[in-house]
């Protein structure tokens, strides 16, 4: 690729206190791409997203986004630069209604395609349940609200942390069916997933993490199930 990637993670080490979760990790996302990061529990997938989003401190040059080194800068400034994280477990604000959750996602007022009306077009049930507390939604609905909240800031890069977690397969398929529309509007995607099958279908490239390191990387269509299983479990 002659163009520099939109997101470049280089030699990232991440720690929780004294515990090292990521070792010398390097991943890329090109503009317009959907990239999957798969791996078993504890492999470091969420840590990777938290480090990119600024919730975990890193070296300044470990994360480069849109030409600027952003590693270790405060999370709210990283959000302002155009990275939105859909956290694991949805993490909607319980004190806010569904619509208020979407509105606060748009707090930054970054210009772009996504606004309240268009998020409602993408996820119509959010319009129907606009004024109820966000905690009364079902798991799938909460996931849609969390993704919608991320889109409201018109990010260049949307980081999704295990959006299939705890959801029925039909609900997961329904959500994944909307991802192409998000890509079509110019937002790049990094999907962290335990559901490898779904992740392979939705993305162009895949990284497989194992114990904090990249065990396998390649185009989604090129990787065999066996290779991924081996990298996933480390056998």
């Amino acid at each position: 690729m002659s163009e520099p990637p939109l997101l470049a993670v280089r030699h990232l080490d991440a720690f929780y206190g004294d515990f090292q979760a990521l070792f010398d990790l390097s991943v890329d996302v090109q503009a317009g791409e959907a990239v999957a990061v798969v791996g078993a529990n504890g492999a470091g997938k969420s840590t990777l997203l938290s480090s990119i989003a600024g919730l975990i401190r890193t070296r300044r040059d470990a994360v480069t986004f849109d030409g600027a080194t952003i590693g270790g800068t405060p999370a709210h400034t990283i959000a302002a630069r155009g990275i939105a994280l859909v956290p694991e477990g949805r993490a909607l604000f319980p004190s806010l209604t569904v619509e208020e959750n979407l509105l606060i996602g748009g707090q930054l007022k970054r210009p772009g395609y996504w606004n309240l009306r268009r998020v409602h077009e993408l996820f119509p049930m959010l319009a129907e349940r606009a004024h109820v507390p966000s905690t009364t939604l079902s798991g799938g609905q909460q996931q849609m609200a969390a993704i919608g909240r991320g889109l409201m800031s018109n990010p260049k890069l949307l980081l999704c942390d295990e959006i299939s977690l705890g959801l029925a397969p039909i609900v997961v398929r329904d959500i994944y069916a909307r991802l192409p529309m998000i890509l079509a509007q110019g937002t790049s995607l990094m999907l962290v997933e335990q559901d490898v099958v779904q992740a392979l279908k939705a993305t162009q490239r895949v990284y497989c993490l194992q114990e904090g390191r990249v065990a396998l990387a390649g185009a989604a269509k090129d990787l065999t199930r066996e290779a991924i299983a081996a990298a996933y479990f480390g056998v």
Binding site: P87, S95, L96, Q107, R149
Partner: protein, 297 residues
């Protein structure tokens, strides 16, 4: 003093009305405290002293500029708001974290500093702001029942302030930011909110309300540098009686406290404060979550 045996009911109505109106003052003491605890779980031990500080700022303003207490609000409110923003940003933000103790210790120290600072500058002399004729004016509600115009006005302003705070919290982007940051600081950051700034704005709002409470206090009663902690107690009691997390509950709490004190005082003047504390203890024992707690899902 001989009580009019033919209309003890009228007496009690007057007493309770007075208590309700004093409740407005107590609600003003409490509202800023409630707000800060709701947004950042910070218990501000210096809250009462900040009310007294505002009273002295109003005093200086009225004396140097020659304006009335109501007009002085135009200066005292913004000034206290700026002090609140700076206090939070420079000092209190550093104390926030997992542990509840550091903010308590720091605000306790702040309380001591404010009291002694005021003592050094203004001496222990009792002061009061003059509001003119309004202080003694009364309105006749019906036969035998009168309310003071000033207490009525203060109650009306207290209701307006609480309504305004409710509006800010539930109908503005700033209020959304407050509630979201209170829910989860880390996820709020993902929305682009700078927690340090959000907390500082909350403290600025709290001290703006404190400024109003301080001017109320200064007009209503004599004040000196040492009366802060007692106001803090009334504020706490109003918040706890009303229920944590509910601003209208804080108004109700203030009214319950005021009425309890008034009833106690009417039976025996020495029982005024005790009656208020008893009411607080009864509520705490019977319904510890308060009268109108906001259920947190």
């Amino acid at each position: 003093m001989e009580r009019d045996r033919e209309a003890p009911m009228i007496d009690w109505i007057n007493v309770i009305l007075q208590g309700v109106l004093v409740g407005g003052l107590y609600a003003m003491f409490a509202a800023g405290l409630s707000l800060i605890f709701g947004v950042m779980r910070l218990v501000n031990i210096a809250h009462g002293d900040l009310i007294v500080l505002a009273a002295y700022v109003a005093l200086v303003t009225t004396e140097t500029l020659g304006v009335g207490p109501l007009t002085s609000l135009a200066l005292v409110v913004p000034l206290m708001a700026v002090i609140g923003y700076a206090l939070q940003r420079l000092v209190l933000n550093r104390t926030l974290g997992e542990d509840l103790l550091p903010p308590l210790l720091v605000t306790f120290g702040l309380s001591v500093i404010i009291q002694n600072g005021l003592l050094a500058v203004f001496t222990a002399d009792s002061r009061k702001l003059q509001a003119g004729d309004i202080e003694v004016a009364t309105i006749r509600v019906f036969e035998g029942v009168y309310v003071g115009l000033l207490p009525l006005l203060q109650f009306a302003i207290a209701v307006a302030v609480i309504a305004a705070l409710q509006f800010v919290f539930y109908r503005t982007a700033l209020g959304r930011a407050f509630r979201a940051t209170a829910d989860s600081q880390s996820v709020a950051q993902l929305m682009g909110l700078d927690n340090r700034h959000v907390f500082a704005l909350a403290m600025a709002l709290s001290l703006a309300v404190v400024a109003i409470a301080g001017v109320f206090l200064a007009v209503r009663a004599n004040f000196d540098p040492a009366i802060g902690p007692a106001r803090l107690i009334f504020g706490f009691e109003a918040v706890i009686i009303g229920g944590l997390g509910s601003l209208w509950g804080t108004l109700a709490g203030g009214v319950v406290l005021g009425v309890a004190q008034a009833i106690g005082a009417h039976i025996n003047p020495g029982w005024q404060l005790l009656a208020g504390h008893m009411a607080f203890l009864v509520i705490l024992a019977v319904r510890p979550e308060g009268l109108f707690p906001r259920a947190r899902t």
